[in-house]
């Protein structure tokens, strides 16, 4: 059914008791044209665009837990497209454009809020680098502007801009079209829209092996039995190396915990997103009123979905220096997601040497913003068996050719 205001009013008539399930809970079919491994935002978006844009509807999304229970439901929801290199700028900008129409497209409120994303500079090098980035981003036709310390203070009055603090705020870049979205809604919206186009969403179904005949894949072994597949797309974030190993591949990826926390809810106090690479903090305020605060990655490899307290302590020290008024705030919850870190801080969305096996990974600390765009280009790559022009550079071969896409600057603050 289509969601609408009228439907909402009707639903209210009987206390919202009769809403149908937003997607089916089907039994796995013996085989599909495409099996997507991983029911996070990226996997669900891929399935949706396969069905919607490429007419490939015999598709299953296979998820070991519940959809959106991975990084999709654990991230700090910052969306922006202020990346340095042309390849990334065009990819993330495509994604941002898709975000701008996503709630309508999916008939599901993703609560996308373009409240602006501000990146702070704290030293001379930061300032120069920020100016360079603002210019590069504008040359790519993407909105970006430079703010002086006074303009930062006017835009976000609660920031401490005193020149006496250890890392004074010397300026900032601002992308006004950036902002935040409701992470769960993105997973649910894509799931519901994909389901309506015929995609099977198979939850509690863990992939345990990939079956091959010669160099071609034939399907996946799962905890719910063997499922045949002509093509397999792995979109498993922190578990990408584990899935790749099942297909006999090694990836340039290491998995690390990335932590985040939320405060008790308070009245509106912060109406934009503030990020700082130098002191390392990124914070916004959710519609519920909680401060949503992201930390840096823990240095060690891990799949444990928990991190170390010292990382959070550093995080809070940085937050309080920038926002002294938050010093008495209570924190309510803390968690970690496992992020797939790639050496050049850029993703891999590509075919592999194994025929019919495609990988979408390496998003590390910053893939939420790319959810619709990643699905868009990955669906194209799988359906057409060749990359879309927007992901042509994001291959696995770039690690042997040397054509890396170094976005450590854009990803300096983990988000």
């Amino acid at each position: 059914m289509k969601y609408s205001l009228l439907g909402l009013i009707k639903g209210a008539g009987n206390h919202h008791k009769d809403w149908p399930a937003a997607w089916r809970q089907p039994e796995p079919k013996p085989a599909y044209d495409v099996v997507i491994i991983g029911g996070g935002g990226h996997g669900l978006a891929t399935a949706y665009f396969l069905a919607k844009e490429h007419g490939v509807t015999n598709v299953a999304v296979v998820e070991k837990g519940w959809i959106g229970g991975g990084n999709t439901g654990r991230n700090t929801t910052i969306v922006r497209s202020n990346y340095l290199w042309d390849e990334s700028a065009h990819l993330y900008e495509k994604s941002l454009k898709l975000w701008e129409g996503l709630s309508q497209e999916l008939n599901f409120n993703t609560m996308f809020s373009q409240r602006g994303v501000m990146n702070l500079a704290h030293n001379l090098h930061d300032l120069r680098e920020l100016n360079r980035r603002v210019s590069a981003i504008r040359l790519n036709g993407i909105d970006s502007e430079f703010l002086t310390t006074e303009q930062v203070k006017a835009f976000c009055p609660i920031i401490n801009t005193a020149p006496t603090i250890r890392y004074p705020v010397l300026g900032a870049s601002l992308q006004r079209r950036g902002g935040t979205a409701r992470h769960d809604a993105v997973a649910w919206g894509f799931a519901r829209a994909a389901d309506r186009l015929g995609v099977d969403i198979l939850q509690n179904c863990e992939v345990t092996g990939i079956r091959r005949e010669g160099i071609r894949v034939t399907g996946v072994e799962t905890t719910r039995g063997f499922i045949g597949a002509r093509k397999i797309g792995s979109v498993a974030a922190g578990h990408s190396s584990v899935i790749a190993a099942m297909a006999g591949l090694r990836l340039p990826i290491e998995s690390h915990p990335l932590q985040a926390l939320v405060s008790e809810p308070v009245k509106p106090v912060l109406d934009t997103v503030v990020m700082s690479g130098a002191v390392h903090v990124y914070v916004s305020q959710s519609d519920k009123g909680e401060l949503v605060i992201g930390a840096g990655i823990d240095a060690y490899n891990s799949y444990a979905q928990r991190g170390t307290l010292q990382v959070i302590e550093e995080q809070m020290a940085a937050l309080i220096e920038l926002f002294p008024m938050f010093s008495r705030m209570r924190l309510m919850r803390q968690w970690a997601g496992i992020v797939d870190v790639c050496p050049d801080a850029s993703p891999i969305m590509a075919r592999t040497p194994v025929e019919g096996f495609y990988i979408n990974c390496g998003w590390g600390t910053g893939g939420f913003k790319a959810t619709p765009g990643s699905g868009w280009v990955f669906a194209h790559t799988i359906a057409q068996d060749r990359p879309h022009e927007l992901n042509a550079a994001f291959t696995l071969e770039r690690f042997s050719s040397g054509a890396l896409i170094d976005e450590h600057g854009a990803a300096a603050v983990a988000h």
């Binding site: 578990h239 190396s241 584990v242 190993a245 090694r250 990836l251 340039p252 990826i253 290491e254 998995s255 240095a299 060690y300 490899n301 891990s302 799949y303 444990a304 170390t308 307290l309 010292q310 050496p343 690690f399 042997s400 050719s401 040397g402």
Partner: protein, 93 residues
């Protein structure tokens, strides 16, 4: 939080250490003899296992010495600490 037993200083808080990533990756004797794919395999590709990981640590704010460890990437349990340059204990002949 890990409690890591430095072979020289004893058990210390993780905050005193720095991580050195996967152990037992040897720089090729003759890098020029490798093709691009083989060199990329050495430089960038990693096992990244879910389970026991052989990895390097350095006691940065202590004795500043390096050592290897076997640690589970699922439970964070450290099952062996051993000198660099010696074989992986669980795979030793």
């Amino acid at each position: 939080m890990h409690l890591i037993a430095c072979p020289w200083c004893g058990p210390r808080d993780e905050a005193e250490f720095s991580y050195g990533g996967e152990a037992h990756i040897l720089r090729p004797e003759q890098p020029d003899a490798l093709d691009d794919a083989a060199f990329a395999n050495y430089l960038f590709m990693r096992g990244n296992p879910k389970g026991v990981h052989a990895e390097r640590w350095v006691h940065t704010v202590g004795c500043r010495r390096w050592f290897n460890a076997l640690r589970s990437t699922v439970t964070h349990e450290i099952t062996a600490i051993y000198p660099m340059g010696t074989p992986r204990p669980d795979r030793a002949p």
